[in-house]
Point group: C2
DNA sequence: AACGATTAAGTTGTGCACAATTTAAATTAT
DNA sequence: ATAATTTAAATTGTGCACAACTTAATCGTT
């Protein structure tokens, strides 16, 4: 019997469920901030680098306009960001934090602390896991490169 | 400057993008089989264990009826599975492979081969990564346990 | 300067993912 | 036995995620 199709042997499945379950962990933590997980990621980018355009935002998060446009619209409705056209290039939409959005950062500082407490993971293991994940992504990108060369 | 909110330092973000990008890799491979990634996961379970009910299927994949009911409906439309009520318990819906669904397994055997070729990963690394991912899930489950105890 | 190609956002349509609710069957407690 | 509870699926509603397409602005070339 060929074992290659066993669900639990597939790295994709393990990644998929690990990611889903970790996201589930975030949900109750983010609820008081009135944010979904994806919205939280957008806020993380803006707290680092306010006033970037949608395309840059998308490239940081690997999301296209089909996902980001409505997502940002919701963040505007909540009142955390606002958007405006770039003066130098009228095609670009610049996303900026509102006062509420900036202020939220203080509260958000507790999030990583809470999550790592829940995961109960030591620093060395954490670093090793991060390296694994970036390595997987590097391999995926390398394959993408090889493809494009042909 | 507090670095704890930096996007790239968050394990959740690395997991999230790694999972998305790996799923993207599967898309063109699964397209000839006429399957989405989630549908492929359901088929993996059924090729292992045909004729299980929706609840069992959901617990293998960590998916609830809200996701699985319409997903299975699509697999029925494609013609890979069929469903019927369990005779011993009329609440349960049993999902069974059709002939086409069983036959598809032959073609699917190529999928893991293609993916690991694309990832270009050696056996030892693969195993190590699988262990890390299951460890992350164990930690998440352990936290869930600790919560429930209170 | 003018035209063709490229780029940035937005829109539409499909398919997850999940919370919350509903319906019906089975289990348990009284 | 019957009422109360628990369970299995389905349904409804929200929010991603992404492909394919549209619209408008910019860039490149001649």
């Amino acid at each position: 019997m060929d074992q290659s199709l066993k669900l639990e042997h597939q790295i994709c499945f393990q990644l998929y469920t690990a990611s889903k379950e970790l996201t589930r962990l975030y949900r109750p933590i983010l609820a008081p901030l009135n944010l979904t997980y994806s919205q939280y990621l957008v806020m993380l980018v803006l707290w680092e680098e306010d006033g970037i355009d949608l395309r840059q935002l998308g490239s940081r998060l690997t999301l296209d306009s089909g996902t980001l446009s409505p997502l940002v619209k919701r963040l505007i409705q909540i009142g955390y960001v606002e958007k405006s056209r770039a003066t130098d290039d009228e095609r670009k939409i610049v996303v900026r934090l509102t006062e509420d959005g900036s202020a939220l950062r203080e509260q958000a500082l507790e999030v990583p602390r809470q999550v790592s407490g829940m995961l109960n993971i030591d620093e060395a293991t954490y670093v090793a896991y991060m390296e694994m994940l970036t390595d997987i992504k590097t391999r995926l990108h390398d394959f993408g490169e090889r493809q494009r060369e042909q």
